[in-house]
Amino acid sequence: MHRVTGGKALWICTAVFAWLSAHGACAQTYKSLSEYKLPGASARGIAVDSESRRLFVAGDDGITMLNADTGDKLGSLPLKDAQDVLLIPVMNGDDKVASTKGFATGNGTVIAFTLADMKTTATEKLPTTGASSLCYDDDTKTVEAVSAGGSLASIESESGKVIKSTRIATGSGQIACGTLGHVYVADTSANVIHVLNHDTGKNDGDYPIMTGVKPSGLALDTKGRRLFVACENGVIEIIDTDSGFTFIELKGGEGPAHETFAWTPQAKGQWKAASFVAQQDGTLTGVRMNAFINYTVGGQYKLQPGLGSIAYDAKTHHLFITATHAGTPVVVVAGY
């Protein structure tokens, strides 16, 4: 029998560690780090401003602003049946700086508000009522509001005014703003992704879902033009948006899903990018980008049932996920 000397063992351990590090096998394991309590009975959309360390949550009680590090309530904005909240990114050269303006939807309206004092600066009525979602088109500097009732409205981010709106078939799932005026909408009941064009107000076509059923979660990598679609039956599909072709299917959790996409979500040396999928059954799935043509499930973590909307904090690499704990809406802070 061979014996391994102490020196050899140390060398082997070092080599194994180096190999594992190089191959990313030391990827982080996500767990629930803490919970922030929210007012009201439910939480829906969520957004974080990493620079100013503020967290915004839309719920039946309006928009609540929390300290992203402590969960302390910093302010609120009344908005009946708030559905979604969005922060307009601000750049200083290549560096992101604190946002100053936000948008929120609720009760068939879209409001613009200031983050500093949580004051409403504009209120616009959407063409249809019902749940509505927001995304930001950085090319046109417009906020796109999609109502599940069947409308698409473009709002100028500077003025907060609707500049174009149309009635059009939409869906109740997540939305994402893409390139060339496209707004992707997950239509859970029709089992497709609508490709709406806010420039023309028309549907440019639908992307079919392969084996997934009820697509609800949506996240877009605008550089790679990859659309990550999480379906309620546990299938995550990755679509090339230039062709509408699903080229990878992965296994996720189950139930309604929400997603967010992030570059280097675990800092340098780890994952290049990932789409994080939070699902109703409590599963958090990290869809890891290995290359623009290669994605795998980087990890799957059981947090707690009832996970909802998700936001990524680029400063701490934490994920903020809405959930319900003992009947109370909370924000779960997930990290490693």
Partner: protein, 508 residues
């Protein structure tokens, strides 16, 4: 029972052929409408499902059923009798090729197979892995696997490709952005290569054999055969477009993997070409009917020391058929072709004096000189590799030859001759050959010289050498200097059949 005399039979046949010709041309691929395809019975031979290695057999079955086909699955060890009553057999790569073996090779029912390893047993390729066929795995062959993301349509006039509305020969995406398992084959000369890959014209990703085509080892296809590049779990990677990309014509020509699969299935299910019987007299009548009123330019070397009489006889024969024949010397400019309907280039011409004349003619050309294959873009440029000759003293290692081997008996240029050897000239003599591109249709090769193709044609629009696109039909038939008078009866029939195909309307 009634009998008809030969002359009557010839007339009746000629009349029938004239009536039938258009529909025969339409039959080269997809004469079946959707409504006719619905209800077609497909037997799909698959292997046992393996939960550790999921495959796409079920999605394929569902996909076909969605199009109205009635699909029955069978196992690799099922009796051949299960084919009875079916319209098409599919051989999945999941079925064990060592169990299937040659069970379906003799089947008179069309076979569509992506069981690459079974190609040799089906007589669709030779037996050598890596030489005659190959399966590639993206893990094992990672770097090479990237090359198979791009397929190439060598012939947009192919009926399968035509259905995809591809306007010109070009690349297309086969599988998606990441390499997937894949199979290719080097089929026999009579095959039509629909898609080739890896920059190798003879590495066919999709290829077909018409019923009656000569496959490997002299085996004659009992029905249509299709080889396709799929492997166990790659069907769902076949490219397809959705959303606004569908309206982009360039993308639509590029992302056609799934359409290619569907189109190939339809071709396999469509009626095969049915060649007429060998009847030189009827063929001559048919040619005479087609020649009437047509102006033919015979390009020859006037006052040649060799072949003068033969050229004269060619001219006389063509005039007898009804062509208005103009004769041009090799030294005259190619503007001689202006106002003509067809050009016949004699073997008495010197290649170097002819240079590239007539290459760009927008009218059909029948070339009788194999050594001109490269200048007319019918083959690449390496003498004795891309074109050459048998029996020329000091210029050829090969002995004189009198026979050709018919490998494309289904084709009108085969004159109804059966597959196999046919005596072409009375005495063994010089016979030229060329190695045309896969977009050419091969009718005959030299015996025992698989790659030396004697009679072949390019459809108008087909990609020729150097990506040159055939401006009109192009045909090659080797009739060396004095050989016209030495042609056998079969040889004359082949000559007439080549002329007839050359002047016939190209496939739309």
């Amino acid at each position: 029972m009634f009998t008809v005399r030969n002359s009557e039979r010839a007339s009746i046949f000629a009349a029938l052929c004239l009536c039938v010709l258009p529909s025969v041309q339409a039959q080269d691929g997809h004469d079946l409408k959707d409504s006719q395809l619905r209800g077609k019975k497909i037997l799909m031979i698959v292997g046992e499902a393996d939960k550790d290695h999921p495959n796409d057999d079920l999605p394929i079955k569902k996909h076909l059923e969605q199009q109205g086909y009635v699909v029955t699955t069978g196992a690799e060890d099922d009796e051949i009798s299960k084919v009875a009553g079916q319209d098409l057999v599919l051989l999945s790569s999941t079925a064990d090729p060592r169990v299937i073996r040659d069970k379906y090779a003799d089947s008179a029912v069309p076979v569509f197979t992506w069981n690459t390893v079974d190609y040799p047993e089906m007589k669709m390729t030779g037996p050598e892995r890596h030489t005659d066929f190959e399966t590639l795995d993206p893990v094992q062959d990672y770097a090479r696997a990237f090359t198979m993301l791009y397929g190439y349509f060598p012939n947009v006039t192919n009926p399968i490709v035509r259905e995809l509305k591809i306007p010109r020969s070009q690349m297309f995406g086969t599988l998606y952005l990441q390499p997937q398992a894949f199979g290719w084959a080097k089929p026999a000369p009579s095959a039509n290569i629909v898609v080739n890959i890896e920059g190798e014209p003879t590495h066919a990703a999709v290829f077909t054999y018409e019923k009656g085509a000569t496959m490997y080892g002299g085996f004659v296809a009992p029905a249509r055969r299709v080889g396709f590049y799929l492997q166990d779990a790659t069907f769902h990677y076949l490219t397809d477009l959705h959303g606004d990309a569908e309206s982009d014509p360039n993308l639509a020509q590029w992302w056609v993997g799934l359409k290619l699969f569907d189109s190939s299935i339809r071709w396999a299910l469509s009626a095969p070409l049915v060649p007429g019987p060998y009847d030189p007299a009827a063929l001559k009548s048919k040619l005479a009917a087609a020649a009437k009123g047509k102006r033919l330019l015979l390009v020859r070397r006037l006052n040649t020391p060799e072949g003068e009489e033969s050229d004269d006889h060619i001219a006389e024969h063509l005039k007898d058929l009804g062509f208005t024949v103009t004769e041009a010397d090799q030294s005259q400019p190619d503007s001689m072709a202006n106002g003509q309907d067809v050009i016949v280039i004699s073997a008495t011409n010197s290649k170097y004096k002819m240079s590239n004349k007539y290459r760009d003619a927008k009218i059909p050309i029948l070339c009788l000189e194999g050594l001109m294959a490269d200048t007319l873009k019918m083959a690449d440029r390496h003498r004795y590799i891309d074109y050459g000759e048998h029996g020329e003293a000091r210029e050829s290692e090969d002995p004189p030859e009198a026979y050709l081997e018919i490998v494309g008996s289904y084709h009108p240029m085969a004159a109804g001759l059966k597959p196999g050897y046919v005596k072409y000239i009375k005495e063994a003599d010089v016979l030229k050959w060329a190695m045309p591109l896969p977009s050419a249709t091969i009718i005959a090769t030299l015996p025992n010289s698989f790659h030396e193709r004697a009679i072949f044609g390019y459809e108008k629009g087909a990609a020729m050498a150097d990506e040159y696109v055939a401006p009109a039909r192009r045909a090659m038939l080797p009739v060396d200097n004095p050989a016209f008078d030495d042609l056998t009866e079969q040889g004359h029939a082949l000559f007439d059949a080549a002329v007839l195909w050359t002047i016939s309307e190209p496939t739309k």
